[in-house]
């Protein structure tokens, strides 16, 4: 059951006797990594979780922050990695259903989903089968419940072969945060109800399954994967929001991982109460379910509600009107115990407090011996390309950089009529919040994003985690939004291995440092360990995905990434790699420049390096929160002033890819001149962070330069936007040498747009066939 001997001994102590099968199952679920956070709790405390905007920090089903006008925004991200590995369609679908209920539980109406997906190499048929299933699953559930899926990321790398990562995030809105719901029981005597779907034998032991490594044998765990019913999910949204808005309930909690077990014990645990539940009263899908099965079932679309006796009738009527089951199954008690009855006999009796306080571990952590070797990069061995235009085109067609249109066009990203910046149009999605306007006719909104560069995290977990926060906040700033809250999904291998635990610790320290520096609280999150295959021989690249929400004061004042008009001035905002050299040795370890900076570009861990050498290696780019904060503030304020015509950050693929994307989006060429010391390919494709491509009309050039001077931000005019049929031309002038890149925008677009659809079109059978080979 996944319990250690020492844990079993502790259970004996707690109960003062041998547990029966049901009790053991309950402990095993609650003390699983998935529910109990036993390997992460200690370090999660390092993450800053306070700011004046935080209305509900970690500890509830989701965090809630306040916008300037008092509107509450709930956010949470969760992983559904293991279920998606063995059953991609249902695994991803139920991931969406689960995260939706976490938001709903707060009394928030869900307004959008995001997905952060990681797969093995895109040329592998099984990877395509997984990706097709995952995307279809998200599309199936998200589209049906009528919540738009507006942003996300897809990343391919060998380390995710066999263990894909499927992280899904949901954001919701609570117009009046004081009506926020919580997972509490209130006073003894209150009534416990199960609402939504009936309980069946699906997903039993799902939480335990999620807390083990994957292996060949994992296919036999397919019954541990739940089945999603988005139609019922949609009804549940409406019915739950109605009973919460009408003040009919005391507390509510999603019956997600470990179902009735976790919802009942966590609600009682938060309130210092107990619960007695009569299992005969739980609506069931099938006959003859044992207490163990009822308690551990992860049947979807269920909620546990606690209410005062006199409100029960009204709640029943509401759920009945929406065609959902609602049943009284028990009572809140004062004895602090979880007691279960079956046919009048008590079948379990566990004190709640120790049940919800699993042992906390701080296992040994050790910097892996291979770190020095993978961080070493001999840049002189990297061949320089003959044709820079050709190199750029190849880079644009790399699955990690290529357009993800194939994915997001399967998602209904406009339902709700609030999507102001659609997927692909800007660095973050922007949603308006209806009825939040003021007299001046402005409309409040939020910007959302989720980011992580797993390569950086592998090469230097602390830097990588820092970059994830920096990039997410940069993406929000590129649309003009002020970052206000983080939800993080921490994906790692087996924490009982010292090198994995070291990666975890380093990542947390990186996240905490940048979140603290930028003043963005972490209000909710999820930890997913044991992401590995082949008996632990292969762990995934550490991947702390950072989901972030930003405030947009007026959704009419945002920026997109497309170049707009011929003649607009193209600014490069932020440092070139050479500008980082002075930092070396003066500052903390993570501010030293990444590999290749001396030669003109931080090429360590870059997409370009992997394309040219096939290797993930070197020191990833420097992470310098102080520079980042200034760059972002400058661009945000210029966008709010209405001066910025386009803004796009430099991420994977560096400067050249960022410019090419602006050209493709705007259907415009560009003429760029870069005077810079070093190798042309490093200058163009190095991934120095804290940079952005921003355009303004020529009339605003002087204004922007002055703003930048005042803010202490390095900016330079890199060139001008050209006409519709013009090519992208970049001249790199380095000392005496002069290299030129020239390529048509159509050619770039073809490479960028064609890659992902091409993966699926050449194998038309991925939908129907089993694809497992």
């Amino acid at each position: 059951m996944g319990l250690r001997l020492s844990e079993y001994e502790r259970i004996l102590e707690i109960l003062g006797r041998e547990p029966n099968e049901t009790e053991l199952g309950i402990f095993s679920a609650m003390w699983s990594e998935h529910c109990g956070y036993k390997h992460s709790k200690k370090y999660l405390r390092l993450l800053p979780s306070r700011s004046e905007r935080v209305f509900q920090g970690p500890g509830e089903n989701a965090g809630v922050v306040l916008l300037g006008n008092g509107t509450g925004v709930a956010l949470k991200v969760e992983s559904h990695n293991h279920p998606s590995a063995v059953e991609p369609f249902q695994g991803a679908a139920t991931g969406i259903g689960g995260i939706l209920r976490d938001i709903l539980t707060m009394g928030a109406r869900p307004i959008c989903f995001l997905d952060s997906l990681r797969f093995g190499p895109a040329d592998d048929g099984i990877v395509r089968y997984l990706m097709d299933g995952v995307v279809s699953g998200i599309s199936f559930y998200g589209n049906c419940v009528g919540v738009p899926t507006v942003a996300g990321e897809v990343f391919f790398n060998e380390s995710f072969r066999g263990n894909p990562l499927v992280n899904v995030m949901c954001v919701g809105v609570i117009p009046d945060p004081h009506s926020m719901a919580r997972g509490v029981t209130g006073d003894p005597g209150n009534v416990v109800m199960v609402v939504g779907s009936k309980t069946g034998r699906d997903g039993i032991r799902g939480a335990a399954f999620a807390s083990l490594g994957l292996s060949e044998d994992s296919q036999k765990d397919r019954p541990s994967v739940q089945i999603g019913d988005p139609f019922t999910g949609k009804l549940l949204i409406e019915a739950c929001l109605e009973v919460i808005a009408r003040g009919l309930i005391v507390g509510i909690q999603d019956m997600g991982a470990a179902g009735l077990t976790s919802s009942a014990s966590e609600m009682a645990g938060r309130s210092g109460t107990g619960m007695i539940i009569d299992l005969d009263l739980v609506p069931k899908r099938e006959e003859g379910m044992t207490p163990y099965e009822i308690m551990l079932s992860e049947s979807q679309e269920r909620m546990l509600i606690v209410a005062e006796q006199e409100k029960v009738q009204a709640i029943m009527e509401c759920f009945e009107r929406w065609g959902l089951d609602a049943a009284v199954v028990g009572k809140v008690t004062a004895d602090g115990r979880l007691r279960l009855l079956e046919k009048g006999a008590q079948v379990a009796d566990i004190p709640v407090d120790p049940l919800v306080s699993p042992p906390v571990y701080d296992p040994p952590a050790e910097r892996p011996a291979y770190m020095d070797e993978i961080q070493y990069l001999d840049t002189s061995k990297i061949p320089a390309p003959d044709d820079l235009g050709e190199a750029l085109k190849r880079l644009m067609g790399r699955p990690n950089i290529a357009s993800k249109r194939w994915v997001y066009e399967q998602y209904d990203y406009l339902v709700g009529t609030d999507t102001v910046a659609s997927p692909g149009a800007a660095d973050a999605a922007v949603l308006r919040i209806k009825d939040s306007g003021d007299a001046a006719g402005t409309e409040y909104g939020v910007a959302v994003t989720i980011d992580c560069n797993s390569r950086y995290c592998f090469l230097d977990p602390r830097r990588g985690a820092m970059q994830a926060v920096l990039e997410a906040s940069r993406n929000l700033s590129m649309v003009g939004a002020e970052p206000i809250a983080i939800t993080d999904c921490l994906n790692f291998g087996n924490p009982e291995r010292p090198e994995v635990y070291w990666q975890f610790q380093e990542s947390i320290r990186g996240l905490a440092h940048v979140a603290e520096s930028l003043g963005i609280p972490v209000v909710s999150g999820n930890v997913s360990f044991y992401n590995e295959c082949d008996g632990g021989k292969r762990a995934v690249f550490p991947s702390p995905a950072v989901g972030m929400v930003g405030e947009v004061e007026d959704v009419r004042r945002i920026a997109s990434s497309a170049f707009k008009d011929e003649g607009d001035i193209i600014f490069l905002v932020g440092p070139m790699a050479s500008g980082l050299i002075p930092f070396a040795g003066e500052n903390s370890a993570w501010e030293t420049p990444g590999s290749g900076a001396e030669e003109g570009g931080e090429i360590g861990g870059s997409e370009y390096l992997e394309m040219v050498t096939g290797e993930v290696r070197g020191l990833p780019p420097a992470a310098i929160p102080s520079i980042e904060a200034k760059v972002q503030a400058l661009i945000r304020s210029a966008i709010r002033d209405g001066k910025v015509k386009s803004a796009h950050d430099c991420a994977e693929g560096g400067l050249a890819v960022a410019i090419a994307e602006c050209c493709i989006q705007g259907d415009r060429g560009a003429r760029i001149i870069l005077e810079e010391k070093g190798r042309a390919d490093f200058i163009l494709f190095g991934e120095t962070q804290s940079r952005a491509i921003v355009t303004l009309s020529p009339a605003d050039q002087g204004w922007f330069e002055e703003q930048a001077r005042n803010a202490g931000v390095p900016v330079r005019v890199a060139g001008k936007v050209s006409g519709e049929d013009d090519p992208l031309v970049i001249d790199v002038v380095s000392g005496g040498s002069h290299k030129s890149l020239k390529i048509s925008v159509d050619e770039l677009r073809e490479a960028w747009e064609g890659t992902i659809p091409g993966l699926f079109d050449d194998d038309g059978d991925v939908n129907g066939g089993d694809g497992r080979g």
């Binding site: 049906c144 009528g146 988005p230 009804l235 999507t419 209806k434």
Partner: protein, 229 residues
């Protein structure tokens, strides 16, 4: 002009349609799927979504709901009925419009903005558009591949029942601009009398500049202008 937006279990564009109708100056209210009272309603909107989960076939179960029975007699008496996306599918299942919907040609859900050419601007819904005008509206559906037998197609063509067709940005009706394989690039059709319109694209999603355009607002304004709003 008072609109009633039907709420089926699984409708998910009901709130969007109500918002759009009000934006256009129409009075609007929700109609519960089990209701039978349409008194005071001038136009019924069947919104998009997945009525009853659409697990059998899009619109196949909604067609038997109490409200749809009422909508059928309402339409036969000349009442205005607009079915959008799932609402269009329900109108086909209910027999208020001819033809059927098949899964999209590519067998995938498609969500994107498409161009449409206005083929008939004499219906109460499309009178605000110019004949032949090219507009942009979003689509989001898995089963929008319109099919009808040759006789029905001929009749639709001849009696001007085709209201919107998928086209390219220049207004050319071609296969490359057909997102789902619909016969005749059909995106929306009306009945012979012109009081029932079914369309796959979502006009309620293009009603404000911040949403990327106001092509859809014109449709709701057409209804509003019927009574001088």
């Amino acid at each position: 002009m008072k609109c009633g937006v039907v709420v089926f279990p699984g409708s998910n564009c009901d709130r969007d349609c109500l918002f759009a109708a009000k934006l256009a100056g129409l009075e609007a209210t929700f109609l519960w799927h089990q209701a039978r009272d349409l008194s005071g309603i001038d136009c019924v909107i069947l919104p998009g979504g997945f009525s009853y989960g659409d697990y059998l076939r899009a619109g196949a179960i909604a067609r038997f709901s109490p409200i749809v029975e009422e909508v059928i007699s309402f339409a036969k008496k000349g009442g205005l009925v607009l079915g959008i996306c799932n609402g269009f599918q329900i109108l086909l299942e209910a027999g208020l419009l001819p033809g059927a919907m098949l899964p999209n040609r590519g067998l995938r859900f498609i969500s994107k903005r498409v161009h449409l050419r206005v083929e008939n601007n004499s219906t109460p819904f499309s009178r605000g558009y110019k004949m032949g005008e090219v507009i942009e509206l979003p689509i989001a559906h898995g089963q929008g591949n319109f099919y009808a037998d040759p006789d029905t197609m001929k009749k639709l063509e001849e009696s001007g029942q085709i209201v919107f067709r998928y086209c390219d940005a220049h207004g050319e009706v071609c296969d490359s601009a057909n997102p789902n394989g619909s016969l005749g690039n059909i995106a929306g059709i009306c009945n012979e009398q012109g009081n029932v319109l079914g369309m796959m694209p979502h006009p309620e999603r293009a009603t404000q500049d911040i949403l990327g355009g106001v092509s859809g607002l014109v449709l709701f304004r057409s209804l509003a202008s019927l009574c001088g709003v």
